[in-house]
């Protein structure tokens, strides 16, 4: 199947539903394996940091969630573009399905950052450049969520969110840069993540595993939400009725 064919087929929710079933399972299993391996390795077997001791272990939660939260916003920008240009139904569903996951991950990154900051910096909250950028990102996610909730018509809500997500994606690099610059202005309060210049492999390999794992989790979560969304939106169609009838009769996927 060429890329062009795949692109055209993605326009059909029915095709995507059938195609994504195995992927949903595979990514879910992979996410469970990777996250378990990375987390156990990171929390139990990795050596403690020579400066921060045991508290550094929170990066095994913090860094993956922060990375995936930013990727999710980029994905929404891309989905928004696809929706506005090609009016692909699936893109609208991707937009809708990504917001809760991205918002949760951003909140998790902020919370884990605060929990790490307490023993390390002695305070729950510091206006660090990265923390501040993440906070703004959380507000951007909340705005998208609120806009979708506020517009009653589904199709309109999707395209409105697409415009907002695109404007947000263009703005994110500028926000990031300006926040970085702002911190050089307020030098007195600056803390930086004093990461050791080169992490030993026993430390970064579990981190890399967890990052991969959280991407798989994102994929599985996204596909799962998309499948539910597809069934819900297409509930009046012949193929969904047949599918439900088959499942009710005890058939498989």
């Amino acid at each position: 199947m060429t890329l062009k064919e795949l692109w055209h087929r993605l326009g059909s929710p029915r095709w995507f539903y059938r195609f994504s079933g195995p992927w949903h399972v595979a990514l879910g299993v992979l996410a469970a394996l990777l996250l378990t391996a990375g987390t156990v390795w990171g929390l139990v077997f990795a050596p403690p940091d020579y400066q921060q001791g045991e508290s550094f272990r929170i990066i095994y939660v913090h860094v993956p969630s922060a990375i995936v939260a930013q990727s999710a916003y980029l994905l929404m920008g891309a989905a928004g573009l696809v929706l506005l240009v090609w009016r692909m139904k699936l893109a609208d569903m991707v937009l809708a399905a990504t917001v809760p996951f991205g918002m949760t991950m951003t909140a998790l990154a902020l919370f884990s950052g605060a929990a790490w900051g307490k023993p390390t910096w002695g305070t729950w909250w510091v206006w660090d450049a990265r923390i501040t950028s993440m906070l703004v990102l959380l507000f951007l996610y909340m705005g998208l969520y609120a806009l979708r909730q506020a517009i009653p018509r589904q199709e309109t809500a999707g395209r409105a969110c697409a415009v907002l997500a695109l404007v947000g994606v263009i703005n994110i690099p500028i926000i990031k840069y300006s926040v970085d610059w702002w911190l050089t202005l307020h030098q007195g309060a600056t803390f930086t993540l004093t990461e050791p210049p080169s992490m030993p492999p026993q430390m970064w390999i579990p981190l890399a595993i967890n990052v991969l794992g959280v991407y798989c989790l994102f994929g599985a979560n996204l596909i799962g939400r998309l499948r539910v969304e597809i069934l819900e939106r297409e509930q009046g169609t012949q193929w969904v009725r047949e599918l439900v009838a088959r499942q009710a009769a005890g058939g498989g996927r």
Binding site: L84, V136, F139, L140, M142, G143, A146, L147, A150, I151, P152, R153, E155, T156, R159, A160, V163, L164, L166, V167, G168, I170, N171, I174, I175, Y177, S178, V179, W181, W182, L185
Partner: protein, 227 residues
């Protein structure tokens, strides 16, 4: 058939006339600006040193908020009486009337606040030598506020209660302008050269000028769909 410049100027004229005929609506955000400045003085305390130190931030944050209040009504009336629909349907290229509306809006918010900045500076004990830079940053930074805000106003115009939502959508996008604007004035108070920050404000405004009119146009079409 009018050319693009004709379309723009015609729409701008209409907007200015409309604004002058409902002057109170135009003035309300400006009144709010000074009301909020008073509240800050009452809340923070009136020692010239304290107030003066925070004046750049106070002025910029309040300019942001006043802009937001003004933006709520940007498309409201035209939406209610159907003018907006005609504007989007007829105007080819459609971003021109949008640009004219935004320009008129900026004249009565961004530019008006720039002109009134000396009064705000006086009330907040902003050191006189940075008044020029304050006005300059407001002048070059506020177009971005109006343009980005117009995107939010266009997205929420079809909703019954869009006010708080508009703030939630737009204020995060105002972060760079606030940082460079207030930062430039604060640095200027310390005697540092702030050319770079002024350029940054201009760059953000230029980027908004190139992107926002099209985003507003798209957002208006989407909002009109649901009516």
């Amino acid at each position: 058939m009018k050319g693009p410049v004709g379309v723009f100027l015609g729409q701008l004229r209409r907007e200015l006339v409309a604004a002058l005929r409902s002057l109170q609506e135009v003035l309300n955000p400006l009144v709010f600006l000074f009301l909020a400045i008073t509240l800050f003085a009452l809340g923070v305390g009136v020692e010239p040193e304290t107030l003066g130190r925070y004046a750049p931030g106070i002025i910029w944050v309040l300019v942001l908020l006043s802009n937001l209040l003004a933006l709520e009504g940007l498309f409201r009336r035209d939406y209610d009486d159907g003018t907006l629909e005609q504007m989007v349907l007829l105007g080819r290229p459609g971003f021109l009337p949008v640009l004219a509306k935004v320009t008129a809006q900026w004249l009565f918010s961004g530019l008006a606040m720039t002109v009134l900045a000396p009064l705000a500076a006086l009330l907040l004990f902003l050191p006189g030598e940075v008044l020029g830079i304050t006005m300059l940053t407001l002048l070059v930074g506020s177009p971005a506020l109006t343009l980005l805000g117009a995107v939010g106003a266009a997205l929420t115009v079809g909703l019954k209660r869009g006010g708080v939502l508009l703030a939630l959508l737009i204020l995060p996008l105002y972060v760079p302008t606030l940082i460079f604007g207030a930062g430039a004035v604060t640095l200027a108070m310390a005697g540092v050269d702030v050319t770079a920050q002024v350029y940054w404000l201009m760059a953000v405004s230029m980027l908004a000028l190139t992107v926002a009119p099209f985003a507003v146009q798209a957002a208006l079409r989407i909002s009109l769909e649901q009516s």
